[in-house]
Amino acid sequence: MIKIKINGKSIEVEPKTTIIQVADKVGIDIPRFCYHKKLTVAANCRMCLVEVKNFPKPLPACATQVMEGMEISTKSKFTKEAQQSVMEFLLINHPLDCPICDQGGECDLQDTAMAYGASGTRYTEEKRVVFNKNIGPLISTDLTRCIQCTRCVRFLKEVGGVMELGLVGRGEHAEISAYVDKSVESELSGNIIDLCPVGALTSKPFRYSARTWELIRRYTISPHDSLGSNLETHIKNNIVMRVLPKENEKINECWISDRDRYSYEGLNHEDRLTHPMLKKNNKWIKVEWEEAFEFITQKLNKITQSYGADSVAFIMSPQSTLEEGFLFNKLAKSMGSSNIDYRISQKGSELNGSWLGCQVNDIETLDLAVIIGANLRQEQPLLAHRFRKMTSHGGSIVLINGLDDELLMPIKERVICSPTEYSIEILKIIKSIQTHKKIKSIDKSIDSILKKITTDSNSQKISQLILEKNVRVGIFLGQGALDLECANDLYYLSNILSSLVDGICGSLSNYANGVGLDYLGIGAPGINTKNILKKNMAAIITMNIEPDIDITSDTNIQSHLKASKFNIGITPYASKSFDAYDCLLPMSTFTESSGTYINISRQVQSVKAVVSSLAESRPAWKILRVLGNYLGYDDFNYDSTEEIVGEILPSNTLMTYPEINKPEKINTINIRSTTNSLQSYTIVRHEDSDMIVRRARALHARDAKFSDVVNIHPTTLKRLKLTDKNLFEVERNGVKIKLPIHSDLRVALNTVCYHSKYKPSFKLPLIKVADKATL
């Protein structure tokens, strides 16, 4: 600790901190534009100049480290004069268009000018004009207002991972610009709007729709991924007008992804279901809630009588809150059905693991992360940033994936293989470690398999990285791996691998409340969505799901729905997806409902509704509660989500989570060569991840990647005797569609890569899917 004086007050501070950090800590205000605590120091705006004793010039507080005995004056005449002069310079070329500027009222420049600026101007020359750039559908530019602080440039370079914006030109001609004809593509791009201290970068969907002082701020949690980012919604006339991040250092820091920021546009989409609907004589009719409940009660009773209670399926979204999950589960149990699940995308797994294995901010402190089967930037845009941070601290990343997508961070080693080979690759690493450490038996269940495995240079290199001294290792399974048929095995093998080096093993699942629903005990072994649907259910109840897009574990959901006698959809939106349903109940969106989420790092977060429900829609927990009443079940008299949570969560904060299901034996590992087969690698784009996001207009106005195209490696194409002029047949909703082929070097060999909304329709003559080898 060193002693300094700030404004005459003696304090002790950590060495190597900067003056601005000290001032922020002790609550002394120093004006700034270019400085941001999360970005590198540029020291270019010069607004934070302060007087330091024995220095002839004022020093920038953001870039000057404190030294023993330093005497800083932030209020002296010398400091004031320096700051006022910078303020004057900043304003000479800044347009006086505050009344029509979206930033007005929440503008750093406006506020600072009030505090440090003069009331008039001495500048009578012409002002600079900068032409605006079109940098995409999310961010609107008014570059004449720009004060060249370069926060946006530094954000995209340091947090986004690629320098998509730059300050081009010299001197007064310096202007923020993307590369010629390029827009900003980062999935975290919206944060530059918050960072911009002036109105140069504003939200394109939001602009001109409200003034900041008309907006009410209420907090909520993002359900679009498992991070549980804290959001600040801004509301006018009971409509969410925009969404900003709420700072939470442990979860989202001060950022949110574009998906979290712009999904609000889908909240009041025309697809919103506003009334309960019943299908009578093949025609949808609007009904009152009572009529709908009576109809459902009557129908369900009939079905349980004729087919048994276990013939009713309860499928819910992994975004469902604890309260919704609890009541849905209670409904199933009361009825006598065991067929309840939320793992709508897992193809074969009985896995219930959505737990990261550590805290979100712990990722930064790892030395090595092995990421298996994840398309991080699409699945977990903001979590990807933590890994990026880890690499900038010197950590290394090993990627085992079916697609070598640009993660915008250095990858130390990469194994690009078809998803069915993930297990083999992990086994190779285990084998390398076994050989190196001369371990006789690793684990009874895999010892015999290990004997058949031969290592290669890649696995040896990776095992060396893992075995380096004092290396903290994390093994992470992405959603892509968790969705595979062999996910259980993968999880088991990853656990073995991490336990060999005392590392962390976790999942990068993007199930928003997966951990919470696990906690409730939903997701029992053997009873997953895929298996339930296979059993030809007499009735299917889905909650917050658009079945034929969201349920990717089963390739033929529509035919199951058609075969079932009675389908109920508790859903915020109506679409063609619900054609085979008999009854639709309008549920509120996450903004309209209170509830509790447990995020990927087991943080429990409860929120209240930020707006009231649209039209006749109701929070799902209320719908379930009343349905329970109608069906005549006991203990369905909850009056609030707090009451439900009180029953679920222990009064203290100590919670015990269920063990992750471990497979009894490894049974799906295919060690035969897959060179003659064709495997699929599906992509869920971040702007397609759920019903709300799918309807957010601006998010979809960007250039679609991986959308209506099939990506195949050129070598595989050659083997299949195809070229990128051919079409590739896939299926959607039972309809066969031919998609153009894109020859793509990033895709693993013998793998086809396509959007998850399509199902494979492998009917090309040359393809033979590999036999499953049981070991």
């Binding site: 320096a82 002069s85 010299r170």
Partner: protein
């Protein structure tokens, strides 16, 4: 003394040029390696490597010579080189700053053009002293011919075994590359130059850290001016004391002055430090057209203007010019005769700084444009009485508030021009035309 065998030949007549960095300038085919070898070139690096003279001893010799950085700041070179973490492992770089871009500067161009091998030898010695394996010569964007000829010189030196690996069979490795700039004045600032070499936009870095600890690609880097490096072989040949004796106290050695403006024989004149201004003016053939001297800018536009009455008795060295309120800078002497309109001259100079500001810091980016526009308005005949106070005030607010010295440099001409020729400015504002009569812009 490491030069006890060397013959000291100091020109006793101080009124003449003393070609030291430009030693080969008056010989046929001056730039070739043969010419340089014929006058004892590359002997110093051979001797250093053969006798394994320690870097410490060499730095000591340079300290004795009193050599100060010739790029303008005048920092003692020996001291600067001792800051380089010589012993530290890993890459280290030395960089030659030939990015002279200020109006009136053209000395580095002549060193590269006439005596490139002395510069190369100086850089090899510097690399040996500082433990660098790689060097760059960053050459100003507007001189393509000299860039090409320097590449030729590097090829010659490499062929002769003075660059590359195992130089003079001593296990010492060093290679030199020429980098062609794109003509931005700011890239003459050492950290902007480093950014530019890294392939980024030339923009000064905030200091500290200084290049000696965090330079090219974050590695220890030493940046010196062309003339500084080119001086080193001579210092080692004749000894530090001999170099120091060439000049005056605190200003040892020789200095190239690039004389331009209203003189009969503009050009580069390498003279001993301490020469009276009058003698230098005589060397350059005196003021042209028999006109009277009005004022000079002694070291380039970033040094203060000096009116004739103050400069006539001054000597051309660091202290001599500081004494009359200016500085030696890079030795770019701009001579102005009595037909010069100071208002229009200042307009041209302030346009230069406005155009060349990198745009990073607010005061410089906004201030240089403001200053230029006010002066332009005055020249256009639309000046206002309060403009002079505004000009002074704005310039003072740019000065000392920016990351690099360009802000300070931009303020210097405005303040010194108005200080010495306020009446001329007031006249122009009042009458909307120049006091001098018909002048060029």
């Amino acid at each position: 003394m490491i030069t006890d065998t060397a013959e000291l030949r100091i020109n006793p007549v101080i009124k003449k040029e003393f070609p030291l960095c430009l030693r080969t300038k008056f010989i046929n085919n001056p730039a070739s390696i043969e010419t340089y070898l014929s006058i004892g070139g590359y002997e110093q690096i051979k001797r250093v490597l053969k006798n394994k003279i320690t870097p410490e001893a060499l730095i000591e010799e340079i300290k004795i010579s009193g050599l100060r950085g010739r790029g303008g700041a005048g920092f003692p070179t020996g001291l600067k080189w001792s800051f380089m973490p010589r012993a530290s492992q890993g890459d280290k770089y030395i960089v030659c700053n030939s990015d002279e871009g200020e109006p009136g500067t053209f000395k580095d161009r002549d060193i590269i053009k006439y005596n490139p091998h002395q510069l190369i030898e100086g850089m090899i010695i510097a690399a040996y002293i500082m433990g660098a394996k790689t060097g760059y010569n960053y050459i100003h964007g507007e001189i393509w011919g000299e860039y090409c000829s320097f590449e030729e010189a590097i090829k010659e030196a490499r062929a002769a075994g003075f660059l590359g690996s195992n130089i003079c069979k001593s296990n010492f490795n060093f290679d030199l590359h020429a980098v062609h700039g794109y003509g931005a004045y700011i890239c003459g600032e050492e950290t902007a130059l480093i950014e530019s070499i890294e392939g980024k936009k030339g923009q000064p870095r905030f200091k500290p850290p200084f290049p000696a600890t965090f330079g090219i690609y974050g590695k220890p880097t030493n940046v010196n001016n062309t003339e500084t490096y080119a001086t080193i072989p001579w210092i080692l040949e004749y000894g530090g004391q001999a170099f120091s004796d060439l000049g005056v106290k605190n200003s040892g050695g020789t200095k190239i002055f690039s004389v331009s403006g209203h003189v009969n024989k503009p050009g580069n004149y390498e003279i001993q430090m301490g020469m009276p201004f009058k003698d230098l003016l005589d060397l350059a053939g005196g003021v042209w057209n028999d006109r009277k001297l009005k004022a000079v800018i002694p070291g380039g536009p970033s040094t203060a203007l000096v009116p004739a009455k103050n400069i006539l008795n001054a000597t051309m060295d660091y202290e001599g010019l500081t004494a009359i309120g200016s500085s030696l800078g890079a030795g770019s002497l701009i001579v102005m005769d009595d037909s010069t309109c100071m208002v229009k001259t200042l307009k041209r100079l302030s346009y230069f700084f406005y155009e060349e500001s990198c745009g990073q810091c607010t005061p410089c980016r906004e201030g240089t444009g403001w200053v230029y526009r006010i002066i332009k308005r005055i020249v256009d005949g639309n000046g206002k009485p309060e403009d002079l106070r505004l000009l002074t005030d704005v310039s003072k607010k740019i000065s000392g508030r920016t990351i690099c010295a360009l802000g300070d440099a931009a303020a210097v001409p405005v303040l010194s021009f108005i200080n010495h020729f306020e009446k001329e400015f007031e006249y122009y504002i009042r009458h909307g035309r120049s006091m001098i009569g018909n002048t060029h812009d």
